[in-house]
Amino acid sequence: MPAVSKGDGMRGLAVFISDIRNCKSKEAEIKRINKELANIRSKFKGDKALDGYSKKKYVCKLLFIFLLGHDIDFGHMEAVNLLSSNKYTEKQIGYLFISVLVNSNSELIRLINNAIKNDLSSRNPTFMCLALHCIANVGSREMAEAFAGEIPRILVAGDTMDSVKQSAALCLLRLYKASPDLVLMGEWTSRVVHLLNDQHMGVVTAAISLITCLSSKNPDEFKTCVSLAVSRLSRIVSSASTDLQDYTYYFVPAPWLSCKLLRLLQCYPPPEDGAVKGRLVECLETILNKAQEPPKSKKVQHSNAKNAILFEAISLIIHYDSEPNLLVRACNQLGQFLQHRETNLRYLALESMCTLASSEFSHEAVKTHIETVINALKTERDVSVRQRAADLLYAMCDRSNAKQIVAEMLSYLETADYSIREEMVLKVAILAEKYAVDYSWYVDTILNLIRIAGDYVSEEVWYRVIQIVINRDDVQGYAAKTVFEALQAPACHENMVKVGGYILGEFGNLIAGDPRSSPLVQFNLLHSKFHLCSVPTRALLLSAYIKFINLFPETKATIQEVLRSDSQIRNSDVELQQRAVEYLKLSSIASTDVLATVLEEMPPFPERESSILAKLKKKKGPGAVSVELEDGKERGDYLSHSNGSSTPSPSADLLGLRSTAPASGATPSAGSLLVDVFSEAGPSATSAGVNDDGFLRFVCKNNGVLFENQLLQIGIKSEYRQNLGRMYLFYGNKTSVQFVSFNTTVSCPGELQSHILQLEPLVEGGAQVQQVINIECLTDFIDAPLLNIKFRYGGALQNISLKLPVTINKFFQPTEMAAADFFQRWKQLSQPQQEAQKIFKASHGMDTEVLKAKLLGLGTALLENVDPNPENYVCAGVIQTKAQQVGCLLRLEPNAQAQMYRLTLRSSKDTVSQRVCDLLAEQF
């Protein structure tokens, strides 16, 4: 290389880069790179030592080549050598190369770690920063293992420079995010929290990011940060705009820091200390006041910074949800933003208002903005803002304004953007159902919905309308009439045909009196749509026809004619053909009485959670739906009320033919045939379904029969102590033939550990063998371990998978306590995520003794004379796991009139509350 000025500018590098940029084609570029690589290789060959400058230059070139997308397989050693240089630029390039190119399994990692260690222990702040940045950039597990102990020490050491502290805090944050188990704060916790008091604002800003992350994982350890954060916040808020000098951004004092502080506070419940709370409320008020002040600058940065703090403050207010005054003020402030010029502000205002609407204090205040929001929905140009407006409308809806809002949303739906239509449809359907005073209004709304946006109406929506019509006697006639009218439109959506077919099939008789809708007219109307529909709809229509035969014997001849036609009875679709054949036979063979029994009106559906809501939840993720109808019970397809197993088409099940008429339905005969086939081949096909409720039976008891089929019976006996359990499984061979290569395995979720004692591979006919499984609970868990049993019976391999009835409550240790004690603990566990609540209908009798036995069986202590209402039950227990003990309080409030229960669980760990609550809700 020619001798160039050995300053910071590397001329060779600049020339190389400009050469590359001037390349006309990819080929030319590759040629240039190959040439350069050969040059670098010849330099690195090691004949003569290179000086630091050229080493740096070549490493830089390699880096550049790598970033262009070419493989680099040498030069690592030179880069590592650069690390030990004393020149900043050389060290910097070395670190850069390492963070970009070195992968963790390289053998160089030891050398690199050594160099980093040297730099960390040097007194030179820039070198320390470089090393920290490298650790953070690589951020691998190995890095965390090597340095997770070192960095907190640097972070809290008194003599560390401020800039290094900042880097250390952020580096630690990165490591913590990558591998949380390796970063243990332990003894450093309080000193890290006290960084909030640091003189240097930069350090505080960096530290607060770390603290926010750490405290969201273990809030208890960092509790002390609340008061410190509040005082810091109040100092910033009350400072004049010039006080903070470097940290004042367009007249706003330390906006980033304020936002982060406010966000940190959102990890915690409102401070209990009155003084701290007062100070915080004062701060929040000041922030709200400042929002009203005229802007100090016309610059957009000024208003952005100000609004950022304001929005963060508002979300804190919403999070606390305890200061009516502040909530209303926040709402008013947001109301002003609703008509702001800035689209982003409108969006954010709508979004925040959504959450405000769910608070009881501010719900009314939000409602005052209804006109503005509706206007936004109609006139807003940005689709995402319109979406927020729709969300807010949904959130602010209640009985008083439901009709207005639903009407507005329906009318908007006609012009709505395609991307949000499906969600809008779901929301309209939910609101209509939830706030329906008058079910004819509900039916109208949903039919309108199908008419306007049929393509976006999912199955759940029309299932739901049918369910409601079936369950409500008063609306059936009206529904039949409306559906009949709707079907008269020349072009109907298929969903409309489905609803029409179903409802007319059930309740067509209610409108048959009118000559304009005589049975034959009804039938012809339905049949005119038949050929335009898809196969499932046609299947449904066929079922509707057979129902017509029952309802109106006078249509029998016409319908039989239709069923007999080649296009039905020889349809290429098996389902349709089978239905046509079977319905035809049924109608011609069965007497009227039989027909009437078989095709009886559908029984009412059991009340379940609206599956529409479940769908909306699934679509948007938890938390997005701010209006809770009621706490969800087991989510399931409410259509499968007759039998739980899979159905080939929903419409078959919808008509309930399976349970009422075994001979008539298309599926039952095939289904039972299948069962027979399977029971010959192997019982595994039927086992899965049986076990699930078998599993639930064992939540409150420890002994019993876990599983049984034609071949095998499995009994279970289990005992638990602390976090350990022992389970005895008894396998009984019910046949007279021996089972060969009998083998069992247990697959545990990670939170459990199990040890299984293996058995002899032979089980004689009629014999019983015993197997012991030892279980250790490491930490709380949800999934039960799976027991897999394999054996050969008469040559055929049998495979059975069972859920072992190991549930979290098995590790309960009962705790007795007095009333005062109980309520004190109850209050301590007041955070929303610590509580799990369910309201559900009793599925068994509400016998007191049975209830008590079940609660005791759960493993908790039943506390007498604690709850003021003697009807209620309260229990307490501690779940013992290896990692920790989780205290758990339970309250069960039966309501004998409504046959309902309310179950509330509070525990120090949210997953535990939720799991125990889920388990227990299935038991009563």
């Binding site: 040629k31 190959n34 040439k35 690589l37 290789r41 690195f44 397989d73 040498f74 390289s106």
Partner: protein, 447 residues
């Protein structure tokens, strides 16, 4: 049929865009921004962008000449830095599309020389004019340069007389569209070039793994009137047929497949296997053919590679020429690939010049001339830089370029007879020149 034709530069910018059918815009193309309800021209942009994003700027180099994106086929050829892409939504004959693209390249070269971005930008009016002529609603039309040059000229607007115009019309639409009537030369001359490229892949032990020759017979004719020509060569089938009568010592060759210029009467070829035609004026490619049997391999490469430890490699390559000593091969170039971690190379060669070209990761050995039945050798020491990569060097084959003055397939021109009954010159009056050139195609030996 071809829905559209685009020419891109190496950056993927569109230089020429001609759309023949609307269907090609109806993506939806992945990776391309598109909106519901946009205009037709906007959608067309999508097709254009799709090719740019998915082929020209693709992460991995796209090697297939046909790319299917969202049910739309893109056929491309690349000339230096220029991409020509034909786009279609239909199930077209891919060979036809490529033939057309090559023809188009030929036409453009004939009009303005090398196909480069500069030239295309300078001639874009001409190119659109040509495209109008050679492609109609996506169907290829007459793309004979000679014929095109009669009515698409570069010399500004020259108002043609009625007669001239009607003459052009009758010629273009007539039976012999490639030659106009009334051509007169004082000296009737005819040049015939047999150009062949020989392809080879050989194992290190000298076993032929695959070899074929693809050749072209290019004819340049300056003949008066409408001469009827007949071309004869040592085609095995023809020789065998004649062989029954008289004894021939001539070697005959087996042609695997061949294609002809449109002027050749195919019916006659099918029936009698004789090649007769009325040639276009000037240059044309009379036929293309391919042979795989009895190929004369002009050079033999004997490689010897020895790895000495992890940091050194010794290479010795011997080349032997394998043809008559009186003939001279030219422009010989042997390319010996070097490993990717080469840090230095020392070369010694007896003849020619050898150099390590780092930019191509190869040692290039050039010899200007070499007579037949000779031998020459090169030896090189390659120093390697130890890497932490455990990948072994893949040892790409040694490739070779050369030019020899004979046809490696063994093809010989036996005769080319010219008959022009209307004018008074006979076959003997025509001056004929025949030249054979054999070049290397992909001529590789594994090492």
């Amino acid at each position: 049929m071809i829905g559209g034709l685009f020419i891109y530069n190496h950056k993927g910018e569109v230089l020429i865009s001609r759309v023949y059918r609307d269907d090609i815009g109806k993506g939806p193309f992945p990776n391309c921004f598109h909106k519901v309800g946009c205009t037709e021209s906007y959608r067309m942009r999508n097709a254009v962008d799709a090719f740019r994003v998915n082929v020209i700027h693709a992460r991995q180099q796209v090697r297939s000449p046909v790319t299917n994106i969202a049910r739309t086929s893109f056929f491309h050829v690349k000339r230096s830095n220029i991409w020509l892409a034909a786009v279609t939504k239909q199930n077209v004959n891919a060979a036809m599309v490529f033939e057309f693209l090559y023809k188009m390249c030929d036409v453009m070269t004939a009009y303005f020389g090398k196909i480069s971005e500069e030239n295309i930008k300078n001639n874009f009016v001409l190119i659109y004019e040509l495209l109008d002529e050679i492609l109609d609603f996506g169907y290829p039309q007459n793309s004979e340069t000679g014929a095109l040059k009669t009515f698409i000229t570069q010399t500004g607007i020259k108002s043609q007389s009625k007669e001239e115009q009607s003459q052009i019309t009758s010629q273009v639409t007539g039976q012999i569209g490639w030659r106009r009537e009334g051509i007169k030369y004082r000296r009737n001359e005819l040049f015939l070039d047999v150009l062949e490229s020989v392809n080879l892949l050989m194992s290190p032990q000298g076993q032929v793994l695959s070899a074929h020759v693809s050749g072209r017979v290019v004819m340049k004719s300056y003949l008066s009137g409408m001469p009827e020509c007949k071309f004869g060569m040592n085609d095995k089938i023809v020789i065998d047929k004649q062989g029954k009568g008289g004894a021939t010592e001539e070697q005959s060759i087996a042609i695997d497949d061949c294609t002809f210029h449109q002027c050749v009467r195919l019916s006659k070829f099918d029936a009698e296997r004789s090649i007769s035609f009325i040639p276009p004026d000037g240059e044309c490619e009379l036929m293309r053919y391919r042979t795989t049997k009895d190929i004369i391999l002009p050079f033999r490469v004997i490689p010897l590679v020895r790895e000495v430890g992890r940091t050194k490699l010794e290479v010795k390559v011997v080349i032997k020429s394998n043809f008559k000593p009186s003939l001279l091969a030219q422009k010989i170039e042997v390319r010996i690939p070097t490993p990717l971690n080469t840090s230095g190379v020392q070369v010694i060669c007896m003849k020619g010049k050898a150099k390590y070209k780092a930019s191509e990761n190869a040692i290039v050995w050039k010899i200007k001339r070499m007579a037949g039945m000779k031998e020459s050798q090169i030896s090189a020491e390659i120093e390697l830089l130890p890497t932490n990569d455990k990948k072994k060097w893949a040892r790409p084959p040694i490739s070779m370029n050369f030019e020899v003055p004979f046809a490696p397939s063994g093809l010989k021109v036996r005769y080319l007879k010219v008959f022009e009954p209307k004018l008074n010159y006979s076959d003997h009056d025509v001056i004929k020149w025949v030249r054979y050139i054999g070049r290397s195609g992909i001529y590789e030996t594994r090492c």
